[in-house]
């Protein structure tokens, strides 16, 4: 029995690992009397795999039997792999025992579609219901919404889950039609919109009646595969921005495509996953969410792709040198935030600290900004006076000469002979 459980866990954890989302933040669910677990506002990453991704949740599929045949997915119908399925009790036991030992922050439950959408969703619902109602479990639960499941099932699941997500898979409709002809973006949009409206409705009711239960307190997220089809960065980020805006998503995840088959429509086996591109997309995502950038400033028809050698914030600054230098002692917070080398934490500290007197270079360095990068874009109380105006490509060279990015294969600066 124990051996079979190990086998199943191996198969179903392996199949679930391509789902990127592992966040456990955003839920403030409290423990009940005599219960186990609670939500943690900022989430806790309990460990990290050797590829550097966090492991916060027990991420498994209920089963990897699937009626769909999507070219980018390991569990596709036509793929010859081992199949397995957990029983409801097995998932509950695993979750409870891992949670009690502080291995995990909660459960991430997804599933291949067997029979039909409602049947699958009903099974997922049974697991979360048992955890919440019978085991008094109040830890985090991330549940996949199964496209095509009925509204009643989705509403019921939302009452027990902390986060629900549904994957967009391909950034554009044409890409999706190419690799998964049976699916369309519309299948994703409908449940996303439904859950979003339900969240709003429950919040409104909670204002009037205190006993209204929580509904998906940590919001919704989605995921796109990057690099399987030929989208530009612009198309990807415009889709993301669109979804952030229309469905109030908490996160959009970008997953660099890792070749898993010799399908002629996609990169062949052995191709390096586009890790650098993925990294740049996440940087853009962060700039949109925390730095007040509009996606059109970062990516537009003139620049449909992100630079690979420099990050998108620096790239934006170099394209818009008319905004710099920024005076640290007078500029508003939003502008300080746009300086390459200054992050959210430092920008907040600067704005607080300058109320008490002008800031000098040594103070900025101590506060923790990347001064060697930022110095080209700021002026403060004792900035050296400089006659020469550098061109943006010169500044780029200065910065690249000092940076030690692991992505640069050859150092950009010319070696000196003498």
């Amino acid at each position: 029995m124990a051996e079979r459980l190990r086998e199943k866990l191996n198969i179903l954890a392996d199949a679930a690992k391509y789902d990127v989302s592992c966040s456990s933040s955003g839920s403030d669910r409290k423990n009940t009397k005599g219960g186990l677990g609670n939500g943690h506002q900022s989430g806790i990453c309990h460990t990290y795999t050797e590829d550097g991704r966090c492991v916060s949740l027990l991420k498994i599929l209920l089963t990897n039997h699937c009626i769909f045949d999507c070219a980018y997915c390991v569990s596709r119908r036509s793929n010859d792999i081992e199949r397995a399925a957990f029983t409801v009790d097995e998932v509950v036991e695993l979750t409870m025992n891992f949670y009690r030992r502080n291995y995990i922050e909660g459960l991430f439950l997804s599933s291949g579609i067997f029979k039909n959408a409602d049947f699958t969703m009903e099974r997922l619902l049974r697991v979360v219901k048992k955890l919440r109602l019978e085991e008094n479990y109040n830890g985090y639960i991330h549940l996949k919404t199964i496209p095509g499941a009925s509204d009643e099932l989705i509403t019921a699941a939302g009452l027990y889950a902390d986060r629900m997500s549904i994957n967009l898979e391909m950034p554009t409709e044409t890409g999706l039609k190419l690799l998964a002809p049976e699916k369309s973006h519309q299948d994703v949009i409908k449940p996303l919109a439904f859950v979003k409206n339900q969240i709003i409705q429950f919040k409104e009711e909670k204002k009037l009646i205190k006993s209204v239960p929580k509904f998906v307190p940590a919001g919704q997220s989605t995921q796109m595969v990057v690099g399987a089809t030929a989208e530009t960065d612009k198309e990807i980020m415009y889709t993301a921005a669109n979804f952030y805006k229309n469905f109030s998503l908490k996160r959009v995840y970008y997953s660099g495509y890792i070749p898993i088959s010799n399908d002629s429509r996609m990169p062949i086996l052995g191709t390096q996953p586009p890790l650098l591109r993925e990294n740049r997309l996440y940087q853009t995502d962060w700039l949109m969410r925390f730095y007040g950038f509009d996606v059109r400033e970062l990516l537009n028809d003139g620049n449909p792709h992100l630079d690979t050698d420099i990050d998108p914030k620096l790239s934006w600054a170099l394209r818009n040198m008319q905004n710099f230098p920024v005076d640290i002692n007078t500029a508003d917070y939003q502008m300080i935030l746009r300086v390459p080398g200054i992050g959210v934490g430092s920008a907040q500290k600067i704005v607080q600290a300058r109320k008490f007197g002008k800031l000098y270079i040594h103070q900025l360095k101590k506060i923790g900004i990347a001064y060697n990068r930022a110095k080209h874009f700021i002026s403060c109380a004792d900035s050296p006076y400089q006659l020469k105006d550098y061109q943006s490509h010169q500044i780029k060279d200065f910065i690249l000469a000092e940076s030690q990015s692991k992505y640069l294969k050859t150092p950009p600066n010319q070696l000196l002979l003498f």
């Binding site: 190990r6 866990l9 590829d51 027990l58 009690r100 030992r101 502080n102 008094n136 890792i258 008490f356």
Partner: protein, 252 residues
């Protein structure tokens, strides 16, 4: 001038009180008793810990800084670093001598240094919340031994009490020889006599019979969820520094 105090937070706060009582003209260095070395050129003054005085200072700080502010001071005190006592001392005097809001003057050295140290302690506390791995013993107790960089156990109590409300657990600091025990009602401080081999590898016969099964399942899961094509050892060790590997079931 050197102020000598007895290593306790109360002593440190009393020292602040004594400073305002005396207002010495020269800068005061504050040194814990066990680190004090007599100096031929500076006078010293031994601070006698007085909880009434300490309380007055603490209340004053709480009034000016609010809860997040005094938590910062407490965190810094728990860091047990030698320089931090001076920072706390200077910070308290600075706060009392200026109008409200000065705790946000990050251009000021003690303020910034205190903020940064507090952040380090909070990070260590968060790591403990993440990296503690309980082992279930035969009598149904969940045990974990730790040796954190800073003395963070007092900061862990609430998190673990709220989360693991229906199981008995022990978290024991092997370096500092004390721990906390939750008996389903309250958390109490405990001291064990036998401190050998408490970190990990608890004797097999003391463990619950299912303990090995779940430890193995967890190891399997950890290995299976890794994507080999994306291997990034640098990032991995950055996120899970090697000094914590001894706690981690999946890394043993």
């Amino acid at each position: 001038m050197i102020y000598i105090f007895d290593n306790s937070l109360e002593g440190l706060l009393t020292a602040v009180f004594e400073w305002f009582e005396r207002k010495p003209p020269s800068k005061v260095a504050i040194v814990p008793k066990n680190n004090y070395q007599p100096n031929a050129f500076t006078k010293s003054f031994e601070v006698l810990t007085d909880s009434a005085k300490a309380n007055r200072v603490w209340k004053g700080l709480a009034q000016r800084l609010g809860r997040p502010g005094i938590r910062k001071i407490y965190c810094c005190y728990l860091s047990e670093r030698l320089e931090v006592y001076q920072d706390i001392f200077d910070f308290c005097i600075y706060i009392f001598q200026h109008q409200a809001g000065t705790e946000k003057n990050y251009g000021n050295a003690p303020v910034l240094s205190l903020t940064q140290t507090a952040r380090k302690v909070e990070r260590e506390k968060h790591r403990m919340e993440a990296f503690i791995r309980f082992q279930k013993t035969a009598d149904g107790m969940f045990y974990c031994g730790i040796d954190p960089d800073f003395n963070v156990i007092p900061l862990l109590i609430n998190h673990f009490k709220n989360r693991y409300a229906n199981q008995q657990w022990v978290i024991y600091d092997i370096k500092r020889h004390y721990g906390i025990f939750y008996n389903l009602q309250t958390v109490a401080e405990i001291k064990l006599d036998n401190t050998i081999n408490l970190l990990k590898k608890t004797n097999q016969h003391l463990l619950d019979e299912q303990e090995n099964l779940y430890a193995n399942l967890w190891k399997d899961y950890f290995n299976r969820t890794n994507i080999v094509a994306r291997k990034n050892t640098k990032l991995h060790t950055q996120q899970v520094p090697k000094r914590y590997w001894k706690y981690l079931t999946e890394k043993l």
